[in-house]
């Protein structure tokens, strides 16, 4: 028998150095030269996410982002697709709550062509009414499809039920049937004119680039972009109600999709690092408490996890698992039991070390690709994090101790206030749930 090997010394790794510039029109420019790469990634970020839209226009941020890849003043939808794809450029454009992002990863030789087309797309979009109608109807169809998909149904129902009725985070960020019906291409045009402005935008370029040439190219293509965007809209999330059970009926389901949680933290929370370590220990890695208990000991599920979703304002904290119908109530008890347990006592030093060592050790692996590195710059630009964020990141994880993990667990994990939402077969589950004393039970229909 050969004993477990002892590792040699690690080779030092440093997050790549990057340059930060700002054009006269306010556009932030982040350049990450990676001389040994053949690819280049470009992400153009704008403060034009769903948080920026009026509630009555829910979905306009997502539709506007998607509309940008359907043509420019010069090129119609078919020509734009053909022109970009013949260059090997697969342009994406989408939005989240806090930003809109357009960009691509391509061979480094395509940087100039790609930048030209990206600038054309942002500055002079075609905003074609026919394409807008198509995208809107595709989104309505997607809502129909989500209702039939138990995982998506649970995710969306959880957000709707966990936030108070007037909190934007509770609605679908890509729009609801009611708001979508009322939207027109003029709304997209107005949203674009207001929110796609260089003063609230950043471009991140990583990979096979020469920084000074690339900066000059950005200046050439985007230096003439004009406008000033509004400041961030403030969202103040509040929870709807306390501990309760909502069962979304999906007859015939052989599994229940569980979502258990409550309000979490925002991206700038001072407890960010201990919260991330705590969530990983609870449900963020294969060897987490939730996965070991629900999967590796009980066999109730293919996987159980828990995570925060920090946004500019506090997003949800959610523990989740898809469990076979027959064990649903016991699985909920087990899941809640793990939320209680992490509050009751600090983890051991060994348990903490395993998770912390993972989060620190996996650092270089997260930045293997040009797209991964460009993506890592995004939170710096979107949330105004300090420029040395990644350079101090591992030290800040290293500093998290057992007492601190216990303290954030007591503050940030609150099973007594948790919404327990599940999609499943009410005919099989209703009575058992009502008798289980998990909280008041409400049964709602899926559609």
């Amino acid at each position: 028998m050969i004993a477990r090997p002892i590792a040699g010394a690690p080779r030092p790794y440093r997050f790549p150095d990057f340059e930060q510039h700002r054009l006269a029109n306010g556009l932030g420019v982040w350049l990450v030269p990676l001389p040994d790469r053949e690819l280049v990634s470009i992400h153009l970020l704008t403060d034009a996410g769903a948080a920026a839209e009026d509630e009555a226009q829910a979905g306009i941020a997502a539709l506007t982002a998607q509309l940008l890849v359907t043509g420019t003043r010069r090129l119609d939808a078919a020509d734009f697709a053909e022109t970009t794809e013949r260059l090997g450029i697969d342009v994406g454009s989408e939005s989240s709550w806090d930003s809109a992002r357009a960009g691509f990863t391509a061979l480094g030789s395509k940087l100039d062509d790609g930048l030209t087309l990206l600038a054309e797309m942002i500055l002079t979009p075609r905003l074609d009414p026919k394409e807008f109608d198509r995208l809107r109807s595709e989104r309505l169809n997607d809502i129909l499809q989500a209702r039939a998909d138990p995982g998506r149904l649970a995710d969306e129902s959880f957000l709707r039920e966990v936030f108070a009725a007037d909190v934007p985070y509770g609605r679908l960020s890509a729009g609801t049937p009611e708001t979508l019906e009322a939207l027109s291409v003029e709304d997209a045009s107005a949203f674009h004119a207001t929110h796609y402005a260089p003063s609230v935008a950043d471009i991140v370029i990583s990979g096979a680039i020469d920084p000074s040439r690339t900066l000059a190219a950005v200046e050439r293509h985007l230096g003439g972009w004009e406008g000033t965007g509004p400041g961030h809209r403030t969202i103040e999330p509040r929870q709807r109600g306390g501990r309760r059970v909502v069962l979304v009926d999906r007859p015939g389901s052989v599994q229940s999709e569980l979502r258990v949680g409550h309000l979490g933290i925002h991206r700038g929370d001072a407890r960010y690092f201990p919260a991330m370590v705590m969530a990983a220990l609870l449900g963020g890695v294969f060897g987490s408490r939730l996965n070991l208990r629900l999967r590796e000991e009980l066999g109730y599920t293919y996987g159980a996890r828990a995570a925060f979703d920090p946004r500019r304002a506090p997003g949800p904290f959610t523990a989740s698992a898809a469990v076979q119908t027959e064990v649903t109530v016991d699985a909920i008890r087990e899941l809640i039991g793990q939320l209680e347990r992490i509050r009751e006592a600090a983890p051991t030093e060994d348990e903490l070390a395993e998770v912390r060592d993972f989060l620190i050790g996996v650092f270089p692996l997260r930045f293997e690709t040009t797209g991964g590195i460009a993506g890592a710059i995004e939170p710096l630009a979107v949330y105004d994090l300090p420029a040395d964020w990644w350079h101090t990141y591992r030290d800040r994880l290293e500093a998290v101790g057992t007492a601190e993990v216990h303290a954030v667990a007591r503050e940030l994990v609150r099973p007594d206030e948790a919404l327990i939402l599940l999609t499943g077969d009410a005919a099989k589950l209703r009575t058992e749930l009502e008798e289980a004393d998990l909280g008041p039970v409400q049964v709602v229909s899926a559609s």
């Binding site: 590792a7 053909e82 015939g252 389901s253 052989v254 999967r295 066999g299 599920t301 050790g361 692996l365």
Partner: protein
């Protein structure tokens, strides 16, 4: 495209080793392909190769249950495994200085899995896998498409007739004896390929590989490969309608094709991209953007090597569009491509898109390692990773037309139509 460096070695016990050094990042990928997949399963044992893969994480002589995951993760690594029709792969990516940990863990379970096996562990992972099946197939809209398609495209006696996840009934029947027999038969160094890619020193890595894998005895009685012979065409059009918990109907079209590795397969791979990859693809442009019949389209071939592969399309109907209209519009686009061939613009588009995606994939050493293992396990030719783009670029308009006319034809087609259950009753 820069060439991927390749060094081939083999151990006396038959383990094939592929080394691909790239010290740019301080990371190393370890990847093992075992030449065993669901096609090797016996009747009544469907799903077993995959269930067995789960058992490989339940400990071995010197490793506790769960420790494989915890040791790799504490080292800053990621890991997983997967099972498919032809093979089972196991892989870790971790900081380069921890290479020997991954090799030791992989060798320990290749050498000595069985002493750690218990009925309790088997029962636990059987439950986990049944929940994996519920999650990915039984409780998922359109979830049974793959299983139904394989059952109809491949005859009952063919090893691709059943899907990798297997049936609940067969999973229930799996026993510890099955674990023992499967392990002794297939989990031997002479039935595996080990690839190491990334930041390592060749001599040091070979010393470690020899130290950990060298003492493992080969299986001198590896069974012959299963009989994969099959008629090249279905010989008829098959149709099946499936009522399911879906909101929108979806039509799947599947065709028997020459297997992965053939020139015809490469041509069909290019045809699939022309038809379905990107917003300028033929089917997206016609059905999604212009005619607005479809919510989405997808076209692909299965990279499998036994007897026959499949050329598959799916199109999801918009509300109010009949599956008949959708099917005929889809077939019209395929016929147009088969009859008139792709344009130079089509070929340029899919060549450049593919080159970018290929380079993007190979940025990850884990992906490089997996492809090297694949080409070695399936073709005994890791160098194919460096000729993959050339082979695709050699596909011209004539080959696309020939391949479509040979395989994508009515007498070789399964039409599998999913419809909302309430509408069907």
């Amino acid at each position: 495209m820069p060439q991927i460096p390749i060094e081939r070695r083999s151990l006396d016990n038959g383990l094939r080793v592929v080394l691909s050094r790239d010290p740019r990042a301080p990371l190393v990928a370890v990847n093992l392909w075992y030449d065993v997949g669901s096609k090797h399963e016996k009747p009544g044992k469907t799903g077993f190769a995959h269930l067995f893969e789960h058992m490989m994480f339940q400990g071995s002589a010197n490793v506790e249950k769960g420790q494989h995951f915890s040791l790799i993760q504490a080292a800053g690594g990621t890991l997983n495994a997967s099972t498919w029709l032809d093979r089972t792969n196991y892989f870790e990516t971790l900081p380069g200085h921890e290479l020997e940990l991954a090799l030791w863990l992989e060798a320990d379970r290749m050498a000595s899995l069985l002493p750690a096996m218990t009925q309790e562990k088997l029962d636990n992972q059987r439950d986990v896998v049944k929940n994996e099946r519920r999650w990915s197939v039984d409780n998922q809209p359109y979830g049974s498409w793959d299983e139904r398609m394989q059952a109809l495209v491949y005859p009952e006696a063919h090893p691709y007739h059943h899907s990798t996840i297997g049936s609940m009934e067969d999973l229930s029947a799996a026993s510890l004896e099955d674990v023992g027999e499967f392990f002794s038969t297939y989990y031997a160094p002479n039935n595996a390929v080990l690839t190491v890619a990334g930041d390592f020193e060749t001599d040091a890595a070979m010393t470690m590989i020899e130290r950990h894998f060298g003492p493992i005895p080969p299986n001198q009685e590896l069974p012959p490969p299963p009989d994969m012979s099959i008629e090249p065409l279905l010989g008829q059009e098959l149709r099946e309608t499936v009522p399911d918990q879906v909101s929108l109907p979806r039509v799947y079209l599947a065709h028997r094709t020459p297997p992965f590795g053939t020139d015809a397969f490469d041509a069909l791979d290019v045809a699939a991209d022309i038809l379905g990859s990107g917003r300028a693809s033929r089917l997206y442009a016609a059905l999604v953007r212009t005619q607005r019949l479809a919510q989405d389209v997808s076209v692909f071939v299965f990279p499998i090597v036994g007897g026959a592969s499949m050329f598959v399309l799916w199109v999801t109907a918009r509300p109010g569009v009949t599956t008949e209209a959708l099917e005929s519009a889809t077939l019209a686009e395929i016929d147009r491509l088969a009859t008139h061939g792709p344009t130079d613009a089509d070929l340029e588009r899919v060549r450049n898109l593919h080159a970018a995606h290929f380079a993007g994939g190979l940025e990850r050493i884990s992906e490089r390692a997996d492809r090297l293992s694949m080409y070695t396990c399936l073709f005994d030719e890791p160098e194919r990773i460096n000729s993959e783009l050339e082979r695709r670029e050699a596909v011209d308009a004539g080959r696309v037309m020939d391949a479509l006319r040979d395989s994508v034809r009515p007498d070789n087609r399964l039409v599998l139509t999913f419809v909302p259950a309430e509408a069907a009753s």
